[in-house]
């Protein structure tokens, strides 16, 4: 087992090669914040490997050289200590730690710096509110509320304000930035920038109850123009919406009878559940379920919300008639803002 550490750098490289596409790994940083953190991880790792090499070298030398050989009964010299050596192994670690501590302090301040010049800088502010067990993204400057998928423009500083409505959650998008907690009663800030378009996986990293492990979300980085289109479409009212899209009237009715008290679409409806304005464009359903051929996942989720997502607080609709369900699903799937 003592040799395992040698695999460490090797393992790292393998991992780097293997896990790029997921946009899930902190080892595959995609943007300045994750880069800063990855650099610190590497720096600390090199220091630690150095420490480990030194300790293991002395260790192996000692246990091989001074092992008891058959028939050996000598009594070793009872040494008390050695001042010079003790100074050495006090001072060297201190120096090593300074190499880590100083950049760390600097970067801690860099990461905490969420100040922007309101007039000049190009930035987007997002208020992220975590709920048991879903995410709400509010864009105060655009009058937009979105659920589950967080759209951001590329190459723009995203200022994130974190809040929670019930228990503590934690907002983590490993490939873009390390986490900060969503704490009830407190607002935390962080920032990030996504240089490239893509879908980045996000997770809740603070135990928040039964559904914790499925409290996933996506950060979707699009070019700034697309983002503007998205934001203005998201801000449409229901009436405007109907002018643009021909929605399934029947489905809309089912929705208004059953869902609207909790879910809002185009500014109308409750806020106990995620906003569904762009539901048809969701990357996944409920944060983790794939879109399948016959929409079985969606149907099952509406009928039995806790079956796949235990602890989910959504009310079940087991008895919704089949035709109503079909209409509802059609309606939900038609909810798009980018096309």
């Amino acid at each position: 087992m003592k040799y395992l550490w040698r695999l460490l750098p090797l393992g790292f490289i393998l991992l780097l090669a293997g896990c790029g596409k997921q946009n899930l790994s902190a080892l595959d940083p995609q943007g300045p914040v994750a880069d800063i953190q990855f650099d610190l991880i590497k720096l600390s790792l090199y220091i630690m490997i150095f420490v480990i090499v030194v300790v293991f070298a002395i260790y192996l030398f000692v246990i091989i050289k001074y092992r008891e050989r058959p028939g050996d009964t000598h009594i070793p010299k009872q040494v008390h200590g050695n001042k010079a050596l003790e100074v050495v192994w006090t001072v060297i670690p201190i120096i090593l730690l300074l190499f880590l501590a100083i950049p760390n302090v600097m970067q801690t301040f860099t990461l905490a710096d969420v100040d922007v010049n309101e007039e000049e800088d190009d930035f987007v502010r997002v208020v992220v509110t975590a709920h048991q067990f879903w995410w709400e993204f509010e864009y105060p400057d655009y009058d937009v509320v979105a659920g589950q998928d967080m759209y951001i423009p590329t190459n723009t500083k995203i200022i994130i304000e974190l809040e929670a409505s019930d228990v503590i959650h934690s907002f983590w998008v490993p490939a873009l930035a390390g986490k900060q907690d969503n704490v009830p009663g407190i607002t935390n800030d962080m920032w990030l920038i996504a240089p490239q378009e893509g879908i980045y996986q996000g997770k809740c990293t603070e135990l928040c109850g039964e559904g914790h492990w499925l409290m996933d979300f996506k950060v979707i980085a699009v070019d700034p123009d697309t983002f503007d289109t998205w934001a203005s479409s998201m801000a449409r009212t229901v009436d405007e919406e109907e002018e643009v899209n021909v929605v399934s009237a029947e489905g809309r009715e089912v929705f208004e009878q059953n869902c609207i008290s909790c879910h809002a679409i185009s500014g109308e409806g409750g806020d106990l559940g995620p906003n569904l304005t762009n539901f048809g464009e969701r990357s996944v359903i409920a944060g983790f379920l794939d879109w399948d051929e016959n929409d079985e996942n969606l149907e099952n989720f509406i009928r039995y919300p806790t079956e796949k997502k235990p602890g989910n607080l959504m009310q079940p609709f087991p008895n919704l008639a089949d035709d109503e369900m079909d209409a509802l699903i059609d309606y939900l799937k038609s909810l798009k803002v980018l096309e």
């Binding site: 905490a112 704490v183 407190i186 935390n188």
Partner: protein, 116 residues
């Protein structure tokens, strides 16, 4: 050890030695003086808050200082921490105080409301 000395259940009848008596008399004097002083400190503390003459910016650190003085008096005069053979007691109490300071400070300040 216990069994080599006086029977622990037998009532003690004797008198303290002359030396002890003198020491006790002196002790009593110090204690009375510091009691008076403590009354004085307390009164000052109350007055400095009750009267509007003293600005709070000054009064609060001031009363906290007075409290600390009082506590030291209690510990050393009333509770005899100054006596010989109390090294461990001193060490432990002051370690406790040393740990209490960051405890109070962090609970007061580092609650996420104001960022430091």
């Amino acid at each position: 050890m216990a069994q080599h000395g006086i029977d622990p259940t037998a009532p003690l009848t004797g008198e303290p030695t002359k030396k002890t008596k003198r020491k006790l008399a002196k002790e009593l004097r110090t204690q009375l003086i510091s009691f008076t002083f403590m009354i004085f400190l307390t009164t000052i503390a109350f007055i400095s808050i009750a009267s509007d003459a003293i600005p709070t910016g000054f009064a609060i650190p001031f009363i906290l200082l007075l409290a600390c003085i009082q506590v030291v008096l209690q510990l050393y005069v009333f509770m005899h921490l100054n006596e010989r053979g109390n090294g461990w007691q001193n060490a432990m109490i002051w370690t406790g105080v040393l740990i209490a300071i960051p405890t109070v400070a962090s609970l007061m300040l580092l609650l996420g409301i104001v960022k430091f």
